[in-house]
Structures are given as C-alpha cells and as structure tokens.
C-alpha cells in the first residue's frame, strides 16, 4: 500500500509505503513502513517509487560521472575533492593504463595537486577509509587540460540536463564541449574563450532561475541573441 501520490512533496519521517512495496532513494524502514529521510519529491516508476531529494551535498553512486579537483598526492594514489562529505580516492591502478614502477616514477608526473579530472565513480563503500573510489579507466574520462568548470548546487543538475536532455541540447547549440558532473560541477570547453564565459553565465542563470516557466525557450533566445551580436 502506498501513502503518497505522484510528485508529492514529502518531509523526513513521512510514511511512503508498506514494506512489501519497492521504494528507492533516501528512505528507511520502521515498523513495516518506508519513511522518507529527506525533503524530497515522490516519483512513480514502472515497478517502484523513487524519492528524489531536493537538497543536500552530493551523494555519489556507482557509475556517476563527476568533475573532481586533486587535493593530495598519496603513496599509491590521489585524493580528489568531489564536493561530497568525504574526499574521493583515485588509486594508481585506476588512473593509468600501463604498469608504472612507483619506486622510480613520482606520482606527480601524472596528476598533481590542483589538477582537474573528469572521472567515473567506481565504487562507494562507507566502511572504507576512502568511501568513494574513482576510476579513469573508462571512455570519455581523464585529466582536463583546458576549458573551465562551473559549480552549481548538485540538486539543480537535472534542470541543466532538462526533460529528456532538452536543456543540455539547447546549450550544445553553441558548439562547445560540455560534461555535466553529477556532483554539481560542469566542465565546458569552447573554441572561442568568450563563448566559455557566456556559457558559464548561462548555466548560473539556469541555477538561479530554475523555477521560472519556459526557461529552456528563454535560454534558446539568449543563445540566438549572443550569436547575432557576435556576427556583427
């Protein structure tokens, strides 16, 4: 039995469903009932109900793409800030494709403090000293050498992507590379550095005005205007 309706706003402690139902997201089971752990929205999917939190620091999930900053070089890997409650860990074995002799090669030759990486979350295990483990051994990830990073609230990331990717597709009309990190960091790179500044301001606008109706259309017209002004 469900105690919620689609798109309902719920709060910590609110009852969602009886234990026989499938409920995902930040919930807990108390006396045979699922209750919410957060301020969130109820989404009904095919065979389950999902609670989508509306606030909070980034909670990594396996498979997430994140944009991180290297904050420390350790004995066998790097510590990476991914805007979560703990720094993430990138082990050497997950960073390099070939074998390296750590006795003769300093790790700083590959990544150093201050470097920016696009990485995938390999594993999340709260009992580990580093609960979040990253990997670079995937497609379209690695050290970032140029471009710029825009920080927004992680919960606003769905708005930047938009329904079925509409907003992101609109932004891509500028012809720039965009990687949306689930941790609220967006890496952008354009051929013209002025475009980067414009795109960054657009993304911040989406964050600030995300409640405005028809935002996608407004962003579209801003891009048109910008393109016109450049041609002059």
């Amino acid at each position: 039995m469900y105690f919620v309706t689609p798109r309902q706003l719920i709060f910590p402690g609110d009852v969602i469903a009886t234990a026989d139902k499938k409920v995902e997201g930040p919930v807990y089971l108390d006396n045979g009932r699922y209750r919410s752990l957060v301020v969130g929205l109820v989404e009904f999917r095919e065979d389950s109900v999902v609670i989508v939190p509306l606030e909070g620091t980034y909670r990594p999930k396996k498979g997430d793409v994140v944009v991180g900053y290297v904050t420390d070089v350790l004995a066998t890997g790097w510590e990476v800030d991914v805007r979560s409650f703990m720094p993430a860990y990138l082990p050497v074995s997950e960073a390099l494709h070939k074998h390296v002799d750590l006795e003769t090669t300093p790790l700083t030759t590959f990544l150093n403090v201050g470097d920016v990486i696009v990485a995938k979350v390999k594993d999340v295990d709260l009992t580990d000293e580093y609960p979040i483990v990253l990997t670079l051994r995937e497609e379209k990830v690695g050290k970032v050498e140029s471009g710029t990073v825009v920080d927004i609230a992680p919960v606003k990331i769905p708005r930047v992507i938009g329904k079925k990717g509409t907003m992101l597709n609109t932004l891509l009309e500028l012809g720039c590379d965009i990687v949306v990190g689930q941790n609220g960091r967006i890496w952008i790179k354009c051929g013209d550095p002025r475009d980067e500044v414009f795109l960054a301001s657009l993304i911040r606008k989406i964050e600030l005005e995300s409640h405005v109706m028809g935002l996608t259309d407004r962003v579209k017209s801003e891009i048109e205007k910008y393109k016109e002004s450049k041609q002059k």
């Binding site: 709060f11 209750r35 509306l54």
Partner: protein, 246 residues
C-alpha cells in the same frame, strides 16, 4: 515562591492573553542564511532563534573523526543583546554548555550519522531575542536547518516547553512565566515516530502533573510541526515545480 509583577493567570487567561494550552504566535522561515548548507529562523512570540547548518563536510583535525559515523557539533549561544536586563556576556555560560549538549543529544536520534563516516555536521544556533523557551525554539530551528541541508533524518524534531503557572499546566512559557512560574518542562518530540528526544524538568511536580504536561507538550509539538511543514513547503514547492513544471 517569588511574587510576579503581574498575576500570571486570571480567570483562566494568562498575563499575555493566552489560554493555558495556547502557543504564542509561531513564525518559521527556512533558508534564511544563504551561505549555509541549511538554515532556519524560528520565533515563538518574542523569542527568536536562528540556526545554520554546515556539512556534512570533512572533519578537521582528521584524528577527531569517527571511522563508522559522522560527528555532530552543536552550539547554542545567546547574543549579548538578547536578554531583557543586563548585557549577557558572550562567553559561553555553564547553562549554554549544558543546553548545547542536550540539544545535540536531542538531534542525534534523528540524524543518520552512520551515513556520514569520517565527516562532521555543524549546527550553530544563535538566540537573537530571548523571552522564554529559547532552547525548544532552537531545537525546532536546528532540525529544520538540518532538513534544509538535505541531511538524512528519521523525522523532524520539534521543541516546545510546558510549565506550571498557579497550579495550571500551560504551553510555551514566556520569560515572565519562566521566571515566576512553578517550573518548566522543555520537550523535544519527533511527531511522526512519537518519540521524546529532549526532556528536562525543573520544578516540583506531582506524577499526574508531569503526565498531564507530557500530553500538552505532544499537542503543542504537533501544532508547531504543521507550521514547520508549511515553512518547508514554502521553500520547496517552487523547487518541486521547477523540476516537474506546474
């Protein structure tokens, strides 16, 4: 018993015009400190508390972190200008240290600290203006600020005080009733789970009075809880709309 400057209760009406089971005007707003991860301002009448939450974030120094759960730090503090009479020294008093502790222990049963190993959650509460019931207003503000920060909680925690005035159990003591009444019972309550997480008594009450006071506290907490929900709705309804449209 000290004699109050005005009668505390006359024909069943309190000095400020309230009935015994009536709260003062409750005002709650969420998200009042933009830099904080979560924040809330709560007023019970002239008592105003502002809570700001930072975290979960990395624990410094790191050796103070716990491997299996997060650490919570709670500070209750009164502004030097918040009291009626003399300036309150900004140095934390023994009272403030005790209240910081009982508030932390009232919030910890609600927060899933085991979800945040090796990190910390900071809860800062400042009393801007004091007119009785400051610690319970603080508790409501702190729990809303935690929810606003998106920290995993089993339930919200609502604080209310109950006192005894001329032998009558009353809800939400103001400063006058706190000073001249016959004791007070600050309570922290989880409205969904029906659990008491803060309980202190300072007075000399018979068993029946105590039990009666608990009942009134639950009633008061449920009333404040509805206003707290509305305050959260106020902030989050617009965010809900932006994700799904109207």
């Amino acid at each position: 018993m000290k004699k109050p400057p005005v009668p505390l209760l006359q024909n069943g009406v309190r000095a400020d015009g309230r009935l015994p089971d009536q709260m003062r005007e409750v005002k709650i707003s969420v998200g009042v400190v933009s830099n904080a991860d979560g924040s809330a301002m709560v007023s019970y009448g002239a008592t105003t508390a502002v809570a700001a939450v930072y975290g979960p974030r990395e624990m410094h120094p790191r050796h103070l972190s716990l491997p299996d759960r997060g650490v919570m730090r709670v500070r209750y503090h009164m502004a030097p200008f918040s009291t009626k009479d003399e300036r309150k020294s900004p140095t934390p008093s023994r009272r403030e240290i005790e209240i910081s502790k009982v508030l932390r222990e009232a919030l910890e049963p609600a927060v899933l600290l085991e979800q945040y190993p090796r990190s910390r959650i900071d809860v800062f509460i400042e009393i801007i203006q004091a007119d009785g019931s400051t610690r319970v207003a603080s508790l409501t503000a702190a729990s809303l600020a935690l929810a606003d920060a998106g920290i995993y909680m089993r339930d919200l925690v609502v604080g209310v005080s109950v006192g005894l005035v001329d032998g009558v159990v009353v809800l939400d003591l103001n400063g006058l009733e706190d000073n001249y009444g016959e004791g007070d019972l600050p309570v922290g309550y989880m409205p969904n789970l029906k659990r008491f997480v803060l309980l202190q008594l300072d007075g000399a009450w018979k068993r029946e009075v105590f039990l009666q006071a608990l009942n009134l506290a639950v009633k008061g907490a449920e009333y404040v809880y509805q206003i707290a929900r509305d305050a959260l709705k106020n902030k989050y309804m617009s965010i809900a709309e932006e994700i799904y449209g109207r």
